[in-house]
C-alpha cells in the first residue's frame, strides 16, 4: 500500500529530506510537500490536519516559510482533541507570536481550555500563554489563571504560578491579583509549585517596595523551608548528586538576598542558616557548589556578621584555586560583583586573580582581566601594570582593546610619576597601537607637553621607537609631533635619563620622510609628519617664523641674473648674521653639505636657476626640508619645441637627501594659438620612484602667456644614472598632438 504524499508521515518526510544530496534538491522536496500541505489545508481535512501542521512546523525549523499555517493553528487549538491542540498550540507559539495580527484570536480558545477540566489541556494553554501572551491577553485571562492557583492538581498549579510571573512582567498592575495567594502557596510541599512560588514572590518583590516589605514577614518561613531541604530533604526524588533539590535551594537563597538587603532584622534571622549552609555543603559535586556560590553572594549582599563575610570571601578565594574551570569562572564573576563593596577583601586574592590572566581559556582570561583592572589602586599600580602589559603582549585580539584602554585608564588615575606615565603609555602604543582609542594620541601629547623636564627624554624615546617601527599609527603620530616640537633637544647631545644617542639632522629628516612616504601611514599621520618637518625647518635653523616669512624673495619677471645674485647673497648674509650662536655649527654643517653637492665651482652662494614663474623660488623653499641657502645649481634643459610650444626642465637637488631630485617642467607658448588639454606624463627606470604632482593648469596660453608648470619628484635610492621619458598630449591649432620622447643630455648632477 503506497501512501499518497499528502498523508506522508513526518518521519518519511524527514527521511526524504535527508536523502536530498543538494540544497536545491532539498528545496524541491520541501516545496512539493508544502504544496500538498497547502492543498490539504484548503480541502479542510480535519483528521489529518495535525499531521500536516507537524510537517509544516518541521520545514519551518529548517528555515522555510510557514505562515500559511497560521489559520490551521487556530483551527487545531479549537478542536476538542488533545492531539490536535498539542500541535496547534506548538504552532501558535512558533507562528502566532505577538507581532502577528491573528495572535489575539487564540485568546478565546485559551480561555476555554483553561477552564475545562483536563489538566494536560490546561497545561498546554498555560504554556502558550506564558510563552507568547501579549499584555492584552494577560489582562483578559488573569482571573482564570488566578483560579487555577487553587486547583487540586499540583501539575496545573505549578504551571499557573509560572504563568503568573509572565503576566506580571507584561502587565505590572496584575501584581495586585497575584500577591495574596502567595502566602498559602508557600505551604506547598510539591517542589515544582514551591519553585514557581519562590520565583513569583521574587518577581513581586523586585517590582514593588511595598511587596518587599510584605514578604519580609515570611523570612522565617523561607529559612525553615531551606533548612529542611538542607538537613533532611523533602524528597530524594529531587536530589541531584546527593544535594536535595539544588534548584529550589538556589531560588530561595536568591529571594533571601533580596529580602535581607539593607534590613538588619531579616539579615539576622537568616544568619545562622547561611553559616550552616556555607560550612556544611558538599563541594565535591557541581550541585553543591551551585548552592554554595549562591550562599556566598547572599552573605555578601545582606547585613551579615563580619566573621561570616570573611568566611564567604575565603570560600571564593578557595574556589579560585579549584582545578575545575567552571568553578574558577564563577569565582571570578562573584569576586567582580564584590570588588566595589568589599574591595580590601577581594584585594587579598589579587595574586591568584593575576595568575588567571595566564589562562588559555578565553572566558576565564576575560574575567580575570576585568577583575584585575578593577583591583588596580595607587599602591599596586606598578606591579599590576607590569602584569597587564605582559598580558597585552600575548592576549587574544578581541581582548586587546579592552586591555589597552584599561591600562591607559589605570595609568591616568594612579601614575606615580609623569615619567612612568609616559613610559607606560609608550609601551602600550608600541604593543597594541592599533587597538587604542582615538584620544590616546591627544592625551599623550598633552602629557608630554605639560612635562617640561621630560621633553628631552620623551623625544629621545619616541625617536628610538619610531626608528624601529613606523607602522603603529598612534605611536608614529605622537613621535612625529614630538620630534617636530623638540627636535632641537633631540640633536643637542646627551640626556641623563636615556642612553647616549647621537642623532644627525639628516637622520631625523630621513625618518620623517620615510613616514611621509610609507604606504602604511594614514593621511592624519602624514599630516603630523609634514607639520613636524615644517617646524623643524625653523627649529633646526634656530630662526623664528617671522624670519622665514621675511626671507621669501620677490622674483621679478625678467629680473637680471646679477640682481638676483646680489639679492640672494645679501639674504644669505642676513641669514648667517641672524642665526644665534648655538646654532652656528649647524648652519655651517649645512653649508659643508652643500659644498659636497656643489660641482667644481665651489661657490655655495649661487642663486637658484632663473625660473619664469613668480612662485618658483617659493616652491623651492617649501620643497626643501630645511631653509636654503640656495641649492647648488643645475643648468636648465630645453627638451622639446614644436610650433612655438616649448618645454623646459629645471632641476633641484635638495640638500640633506642625496637621493631626491625635483624637476620642474615648464611649458611656454610663444605661438599665436593656445595650447589646450595639455597633459605631460613621465616615465623613469624601475629602480627609481616617480611622483608627478598636479600641474598648474592644462592650458598654455598663446603669445608668451602664463606658462604651466608641473613638479616631478624622483627618488633614486640606488643612485643609478637617470633616464627620463616624457609623453605629451595636447591640442594646438585645432589638431591633437601626441609626442613621446626620451630626454637626452641629462646633466650628471641630476643623479650623481
Amino acid at each position: 500500500m503506497v501512501a499518497s504524499s499528502s498523508s506522508l508521515k513526518l518521519q518519511d518526510l524527514i527521511q526524504e529530506i535527508r536523502e536530498a544530496k543538494t540544497q536545491a534538491q532539498e528545496r524541491e522536496v520541501i516545496q512539493k510537500e508544502c504544496a500538498h500541505i497547502r492543498a490539504s489545508f484548503r480541502d479542510g481535512d480535519p483528521l489529518h490536519r495535525h499531521r500536516q501542521l507537524a510537517k509544516l512546523l518541521y520545514v519551518h525549523m529548517l528555515g522555510y516559510p510557514a505562515h500559511f499555517g497560521q489559520m490551521e493553528c487556530l483551527k487545531l487549538i479549537a478542536s476538542p482533541r488533545f492531539t490536535d491542540k498539542r500541535v496547534g498550540y506548538l504552532g501558535a507559539m512558533l507562528l502566532l507570536d505577538e507581532r502577528q495580527d491573528a495572535h489575539l484570536l487564540i485568546t478565546n480558545s485559551i480561555k476555554n481550555d483553561l477552564s475545562q477540566g483536563i489538566q494536560a489541556v490546561q497545561g498546554l494553554a498555560l504554556c502558550t500563554l506564558s510563552a507568547t501572551g501579549s499584555a492584552e491577553m494577560c489582562r483578559d485571562l488573569a482571573t482564570e489563571v488566578e483560579k487555577l492557583l487553587l486547583q487540586p492538581s499540583a501539575y496545573v498549579r505549578k504551571k499557573a504560578v509560572l504563568t503568573a510571573v509572565h503576566m506580571i512582567r507584561k502587565v505590572p498592575e496584575l501584581s495586585n491579583i497575584f500577591l495574596p495567594p502567595c502566602a498559602q502557596l508557600l505551604h506547598e510541599h510539591h517542589h515544582g509549585v514551591l519553585l514557581g512560588t519562590i520565583m513569583l514572590i521574587t518577581e513581586l518583590c523586585e517590582r514593588s517596595p511595598a511587596a518587599l516589605k510584605h514578604f519580609r514577614k515570611m523570612v522565617p518561613q523561607l529559612v525553615h523551608i531551606l533548612r529542611t531541604l538542607v538537613t533532611t530533604g523533602y524528597s530524594t526524588e529531587h536530589s541531584i548528586s546527593g544535594v536535595s533539590d539544588p534548584f529550589l535551594q538556589v531560588q530561595i537563597l536568591r529571594l533571601l538576598r533580596i529580602l535581607g538587603r539593607n534590613h538588619e532584622e531579616s539579615s539576622e534571622t537568616m544568619n545562622d542558616l547561611l553559616a550552616q549552609v556555607a560550612t556544611n555543603t558538599d563541594t565535591s559535586r557541581n550541585a553543591g557548589n551551585a548552592v554554595l556560590f549562591e550562599t556566598v553572594l547572599t552573605i555578601m549582599d545582606i547585613r551579615s556578621a563580619a566573621g561570616l563575610r570573611v568566611l564567604a570571601v575565603n570560600i571564593l578565594g578557595r574556589f579560585l584555586l579549584n582545578s575545575d574551570r567552571n568553578i574558577r569562572y564563577v569565582a571570578l564573576t562573584s569576586l567582580l560583583r564584590l570588588v566595589q563593596s568589599d574591595h580590601s577583601a577581594v584585594q587579598r586574592h589579587r595574586p591568584t586573580v593575576v595568575e588567571c590572566l595566564r589562562e588559555p581559556d578565553g572566558s576565564l582570561s576575560r574575567r580575570a582581566l576585568e577583575l584585575s583592572l578593577a583591583l588596580v589602586n595607587s599602591s599596586n599600580v606598578r606591579a599590576m601594570t607590569q602584569e597587564l602589559q605582559g598580558f597585552l603582549e600575548s592576549c587574544p585580539p578581541d581582548l586587546q582593546a579592552d586591555c589597552a584602554s584599561g591600562i591607559l585608564l589605570a595609568a591616568e588615575r594612579f601614575a606615580p610619576t609623569k615619567r612612568w606615565h609616559i613610559d607606560t603609555t609608550l609601551r602600550v602604543l608600541m604593543t597594541a597601537g592599533t587597538h587604542v582609542r582615538d584620544d590616546a594620541v591627544a592625551n599623550l601629547t598633552q602629557l608630554i607637553g605639560g612635562a617640561q623636564e621630560l621633553h628631552a627624554y620623551s623625544v629621545r624615546r619616541l625617536y628610538s621607537a619610531l626608528a624601529e617601527d613606523i607602522s603603529q599609527q598612534p605611536l608614529v603620530q605622537v613621535a612625529a609631533w614630538c620630534i617636530g616640537e623638540y627636535g632641537d633637544l633631540l640633536l643637542e647631545g646627551s640626556c641623563e635619563e636615556t642612553e647616549p644617542l647621537q642623532v644627525e639632522e639628516e637622520e631625523v629628516l630621513a625618518l620623517l620622510e620615510r613616514v611621509l612616504q610609507s604606504h602604511m601611514s594614514l593621511p592624519a599621520t602624514r599630516g603630523y609628519a609634514l607639520t613636524a618637518l615644517m617646524k623643524l625647518s625653523t627649529r633646526l635653523r634656530g630662526d623664528n617664523k617671522a624670519a622665514i616669512l621675511e626671507k621669501i624673495p620677490l622674483v621679478e619677471r625678467g629680473g637680471s641674473q646679477a640682481d638676483e645674485e646680489a639679492k640672494e647673497s645679501k639674504e644669505t648674509a642676513q641669514l648667517s648674521e641672524a642665526a644665534p650662536v648655538p646654532t652656528e655649527p649647524q648652519a655651517s654643517k649645512l653649508l659643508d653639505l652643500l659644498d659636497l653637492l656643489d660641482g667644481p665651482s665651489g661657490d655655495a652662494q649661487h642663486p637658484p636657476p632663473l625660473d619664469p614663474t613668480p612662485g618658483g623660488a617659493l616652491i623651492h623653499l617649501l620643497n626643501l626640508p630645511c631653509a636654503p641657502p640656495p641649492p647648488a645649481p643645475i643648468p636648465n634643459l630645453k627638451v622639446f619645441e614644436r610650433e612655438g610650444l616649448q618645454l623646459n626642465l629645471s632641476f633641484v637637488r635638495p640638500p640633506g637627501t642625496r637621493t631626491l631630485l625635483l624637476i620642474t617642467v615648464t611649458a611656454t607658448n610663444t605661438s599665436g594659438g593656445d595650447v589646450t588639454h595639455f597633459i605631460c606624463q613621465a616615465a623613469v627606470p624601475k629602480s627609481f620612484q616617480l611622483q608627478l604632482q598636479a600641474p598648474s593648469g592644462d592650458t598654455v596660453p598663446a603669445q608668451g602667456g602664463l606658462p604651466t608648470t608641473q613638479l616631478l619628484r624622483i627618488l633614486n635610492p640606488k643612485k643609478a644614472p637617470l633616464r627620463l621619458k616624457l609623453r605629451l598630449t595636447y591640442n594646438h591649432f585645432g589638431q591633437s598632438v601626441q609626442e613621446i620622447f626620451e630626454v637626452n643630455n641629462l646633466p650628471v648632477e641630476t643623479w650623481q
Binding site: M1, V2, Q11, I14, Q15, R18, L47, L57, M61, G63, R81, F82, T83, R86, L90, D97, E98, A120, G123, L126, C127, S130, A131, T132, Y155, K158, K159, L162, T163, V165, H166, H191, G192, L195, G196, M199, E237, H238, I240, D245, P246, F247, V250, N286, A287, N289, A290, F293, E294, R325, N326, Y329, V330, T333, P360, D361, G362, S363, L364, D398
Partner: protein
C-alpha cells in the same frame, strides 16, 4: 531568565531550537549561526561558559553549553540564572531525553524532533525553570502520549488492524487443502507494506 535553548551538531546543523524572546526569524537564524561559530572554537578543556556574540550577548547574557558526543546543547541565559545551576539543568534535560527515547542519539533527535518541544515544555516554561524532577516529567509525557493514542481510536483503526496482521505469527498454511475430492487453493495473502 532563559532566552534560548539550542541544539546543534558538530557541523553547526541545527537539530532543535526554542526562543523565549520574540526574535524575528532572520535574527533567530543569525543567532544559531553565531552561537555555533563561538562554541565550535572552544577547546575541550575549557569552562562551559561563553560571553560575547553580538546578537544574543547583550551586556547581561551568556552562553552555557555542554558537548555530548556529536551534539552541542546551548542555553542562552541572563544574569538572573545561576551558571552552575544551568549546567545541572542541561544535564537533567539530556537525561530526560535519554529516558524518553531510550538512549538518545542524534538520529533520534532528527526523526523525533516533534517530540522534543513537548518534553522541554515540561521542564522550562516561559524562559523559567518549571520542573527538575525527571520522573515527574517523564510521567507527564507518558500520560500525554497515552492520551494521544487513545484519541487515535476509530480513526486509527485501519492502521492498527494492518499492523496487527503484520505482527501476527501466521503458521504455515498449506497451499492445497484436500477435503476429499475438492481442491481449494488458498490464495496468497497480499503483503502489506
Amino acid at each position: 531568565m532563559i532566552k534560548a535553548i539550542l541544539i546543534f551538531n558538530n557541523h553547526g546543523k541545527p537539530r532543535f531550537s526554542k526562543f523565549y524572546q520574540p526574535y524575528s526569524e532572520d535574527t533567530q537564524w543569525q543567532i544559531i549561526r553565531e552561537t555555533f561559530h563561538l562554541v565550535s572554537k572552544r577547546d575541550e578543556n575549557v569552562c562551559n561558559f561563553l560571553e560575547g556574540g553580538l546578537l544574543i550577548g547583550e551586556s547581561d547574557n551568556k552562553l552555557i553549553y555542554r558537548h555530548y558526543a556529536t551534539l552541542y546543547f546551548v542555553f542562552c541565559v541572563d544574569s538572573s540564572e545561576s551558571e552552575l545551576g544551568i549546567l545541572d539543568l542541561i544535564q537533567v534535560f539530556v537525561k530526560t531525553l535519554d529516558k524518553c527515547f531510550e538512549n538518545i542519539c542524534e538520529l533520534d533527535l532528527i526523526f523525533h524532533v516533534d517530540k522534543v518541544p513537548n518534553i522541554l515544555a515540561e521542564m522550562v516554561m516561559g524562559g523559567m525553570v518549571l520542573e527538575t524532577n525527571m520522573n515527574e516529567i517523564v510521567t507527564q509525557i507518558d500520560a500525554q502520549n497515552k492520551l494521544e493514542k487513545s484519541e487515535a481510536g476509530l480513526v486509527g483503526a485501519p492502521a492498527r488492524a494492518v499492523s496487527a496482521v503484520k505482527n501476527m505469527n501466521l503458521p504455515e498454511i498449506p497451499r492445497n487443502i484436500n477435503i476429499g475430492d475438492i481442491s481449494i487453493k488458498v490464495p496468497n495473502l497480499p503483503s502489506f507494506k
